[in-house]
């Protein structure tokens, strides 16, 4: 898929930005603080209905402004105008070809983007929550049933926690919630397991292309549900639930660890190995959308040359040159460096100065 037009209004630092696009690769350059990342974030926002870089929507509205808007024209089996409006104190709105969508969640599954950014390092060093939401985001875009189960599951666990916090704990009520959690958690767990089986060989393939090493890549998916049913888990955790006043069984407790040669990447991986792994992980995400949804997502590369060494950057250029990517947006501080990259990929490109 491609974007042919992009408008930002009061989105982060951009008052009014218009970009017309007719190339495969768009290089955006400018000094730090000019808002290169914000342009990439706006594209991601249009695809999935939320920011990649900011925790809340309010942070995306310019100070003093009442509202922010993004409009993008997509070419993806037809032409689509996607319009997103963020307003203070109101729910965000998404319109597709002039038609408002009832819920932002309904937008998922048509437009895809994969971001590679310096902050991705959090996927390695951050809490399990980060890695869980990374894979939830992937599965929610490709599988509507997963999304429905996930939304319901989160609400049910909240309800269950509220019961555990109450003065009188009605076991029949816990059971009534567990009756509904059981099918949801089973589905979520099996889909997560399938996803990792699919991803591991892909990560390995891209990792091999990016690094000269011979390391073996793995993902440890540690879930109570790997060997027990939800029913068995809740029985095992009954006392713990009562003592801690929250639910200890289910996929919200899943742990995901990245592994290199059988050891934890975050503990034993070198800086270079971690950088290669992260790019490989994101390219695997890209390939996952290609294979499951038959689309070519937008690839958004934020400031990658600043953070990765020349050798890896060259390897990435080779991957991009040979692979069949859709449109690529790349940001950098230096015009010369970005132009060199664009040329090397041997695709049509345009440069935008901020």
């Amino acid at each position: 898929m491609k974007i042919t037009k992009l408008n930002l209004n009061f989105f982060k630092n951009h008052d009014a930005l218009r970009i017309d696009i007719d190339s495969d690769i768009v290089g955006i350059y400018g000094l730090n603080g000019k808002g290169k990342t914000n342009v990439l974030d706006a594209i991601h926002f249009l695809c999935v209905g939320k920011s990649y870089f900011s925790g809340t929507d309010i942070q995306c509205i310019q100070h003093e402004a009442e509202a922010a808007g993004i409009i993008g024209i997509f070419e993806a089996e037809g032409t689509w105008e996607v319009k997103l409006v963020l307003q203070r104190g109101k729910r965000k709105k998404i319109e597709k070809n002039g038609k408002a969508l009832p819920r932002v969640l309904d937008h998922l599954g048509q437009f895809f983007s994969v971001v590679i950014a310096p902050g991705d390092i959090e996927l390695i060093y951050g809490a399990n929550e980060k890695r869980r939401s990374f894979i939830d985001q992937m599965l929610s875009q490709t599988d509507k049933t997963y999304l429905q189960h996930l939304v319901k599951y989160k609400k049910l666990i909240e309800q269950r926690n509220a019961v555990l916090k109450s003065d009188y704990i009605d076991q029949a009520l816990i059971q009534a919630l567990d009756d509904q959690i059981t099918p949801a958690v089973k589905y979520l767990h099996s889909k997560r397991q399938e996803l990792f089986q699919f991803l591991i060989p892909l990560i390995q393939r891209f990792y091999d292309q990016l690094s000269k090493g011979r390391e073996e890549i793995g993902v440890d998916y540690i879930s109570g549900l790997n060997d027990s049913s939800y029913d068995e888990l809740t029985h095992q955790n009954r006392r713990k639930d009562l003592a801690l006043q929250r639910s200890n069984s289910g996929v919200h407790k899943d742990e995901i660890d990245f592994v290199i040669d059988g050891q934890a990447l975050k503990k034993y991986g070198s800086q270079g190995q971690i950088k290669s792994f992260l790019i490989a992980l994101k390219l695997a995400e890209y390939q996952y959308y290609v294979e499951t949804m038959k689309v070519k997502p937008l690839l958004l590369l934020d400031d990658i040359f600043e953070k990765i060494d020349t050798e890896r950057a060259l390897a990435l250029t080779e991957v991009i040159k040979n692979a069949n990517f859709g449109q690529i947006f790349i940001s950098d501080t230096e015009q010369e460096r970005i132009e060199k990259f664009c040329k090397a990929t041997e695709h049509s490109y345009q440069l935008e100065a901020l």
């Binding site: 319901k152 909240e158 309800q159 509220a162 019961v163 009605d170 009520l173 059971q175 009534a176 009756d179």
Partner: protein
């Protein structure tokens, strides 16, 4: 409405005011099923032709009206007045569930039909009642889901509501 009333003769408006007052004072809840009523028992509970061994569980009186409009149901009702939602502090004791349990203990009830909205709160309430009531040896069935998706019973058209009452599904473990 107020402007309109001012244009009318005084006698007419007073009459209307009295009627409204009477209505407000007379309205109360049925002591057995908690439906709206003008007496201590509502017209459904009072009627000798209704089957008192079958009880349909609904959230509020609008649902009773919707089901009555189908003319396909001949049992009695039990109006819960709300749905279980622990995060909002609404537990089974805060709606008319204890009264339902007592009613089943006292009367010979053969079947409970759950007709709550298919929201998470509706489902939780249904699963809870089903668990409590099957322990007591009562058959539990639920309206075929999909009829009330996206809304409450009152928005469902009569034909599909009637069909789902007839084709209700027994809930088993």
């Amino acid at each position: 409405m107020v402007l309109n009333l001012l244009k009318r003769p005084e006698g007419e408006t007073l009459e209307l005011a009295r009627a409204l007052e009477r209505m407000r004072l007379d309205i109360r809840f049925c002591e057995q099923c908690f439906n709206l009523s003008d007496d201590h028992l509502c017209s459904v509970c009072k009627s000798p032709s209704r089957d008192e061994h079958t009880i349909c569980i609904v959230k509020d009186f609008q649902d009773v009206i919707a089901i009555e409009n189908t003319a396909q149901y001949n049992g009695q009702y039990h109006v819960l007045g709300g749905l279980i939602s622990p995060v909002e502090g609404i537990g089974p004791q805060d709606i008319k569930i204890p009264q339902l349990i007592d009613r089943i203990k006292e009367k010979e009830v053969n079947e409970i039909i759950l007709a709550l909205s298919s929201t998470m709160e509706g489902d939780t309430t249904e699963f809870y009642i089903a668990r409590k009531v099957t322990e007591m040896g009562v058959k539990v069935s639920t309206l075929s889901k999909g009829i009330s998706v996206g809304g409450e019973l009152e928005y469902t058209d009569e034909i599909s509501l009637a069909r789902s009452i007839k084709n209700r599904i027994e809930m088993k473990d």
